[in-house]
Symmetry: C2
Subunit: 150 residues, 2 copies
DNA sequence: TATTGTTATACTCTATAACTATA
DNA sequence: TATAGTTATAGAGTATAACAATA
């Protein structure tokens, strides 16, 4: 460890929302990824598992649309969750399946939710509860606008 | 286009800051990537270019630390910017180089900054100026806490 | 015709390890 | 010993195109 702290560089994008969003989100995802390693799940896989848990019977196309993921990208994730015995596919209409968690998937989903809750409590403790609520509301307000612009 | 809108799925992570951060950030980055395609730059390359423009003489190691990027990952980006004639490397201390923009890099940097400004104005127009300021302040407040937790 | 699931493929970003050269 | 830059490599996530089967 050098004891001399180097002078910080100027951040020309400091005042840009997109830049700060990216920096905070990236750090947050890295922290969550670390918290989920013991469950052998990435944040993405954990999110898909929780979506299936919350929406039993939904097809992977609908899950994908809801998470803004391509069908082509969600397919291997579903296969992985099924291979791990966390979800099952029930024939839906001949070309699609209704997804649902197995008991093992349900149990893991509960654990994942708790891990995310703990991870967020630690990561966001610098913000007051009011500030956390404010931030959440602003982000949710953004969601509609951002989706429309894409 | 089907005229029947499908029922929205439940979002079990709706109330989680990390989830909303990720969704908004991802959409924002996709939008910016699109806005930068004509300049043949990704958001990451554009950010590195602007960092060099704002901090002439800085080494790539310092740029990388400031952007939370590994030396190994920033090396090819620097090589690419140099190959494109956007930056130059001046010998610094025998094992490192001071980076600086060429006139071409300066000009492109200005254009990139304007593109980002326009992109953000469009994407964040759903928020009032006060809300944008609030969001920025909350994100910046997070930065310190998040960095400490990693 | 449109949708579902799948495969193949490529690209970006990231993470780690190892190496050389220099401080 | 620590740091700078580089290379190799692997992994996650995403994008597009194409295909067969079904609606």
């Amino acid at each position: 460890m050098s004891e001399i702290r180097e002078r910080a560089l100027l951040e020309p994008l400091e005042k840009f929302l997109g830049y700060q969003l990216r920096r905070v989100s990236a750090a947050c995802m890295a922290h969550l990824a670390n918290a989920l390693t013991a469950q052998n799940l990435s944040p993405t896989l954990g999110t898909v598992l929780l979506m299936i848990k919350a929406n039993p019977g939904a097809t992977q196309a609908r899950i994908g649309r809801s998470l803004a993921m391509q069908r082509a990208n969600i397919a291997p994730l579903i296969a992985r969750l099924e291979h791990d015995g966390l979800i099952v596919r029930k024939v839906c209409d001949g070309r699609s399946f209704g997804l649902a968690c197995t008991p093992k998937g349900e149990a893991l989903g509960k654990r994942v939710r708790q891990i995310i809750t703990d991870h967020e409590a630690e990561l966001f403790r610098a913000l007051t509860e009011d500030e956390q609520k404010q931030l959440l509301d602003l982000l949710i307000k953004m969601r509609g606008s951002v989706a429309a612009a894409s």
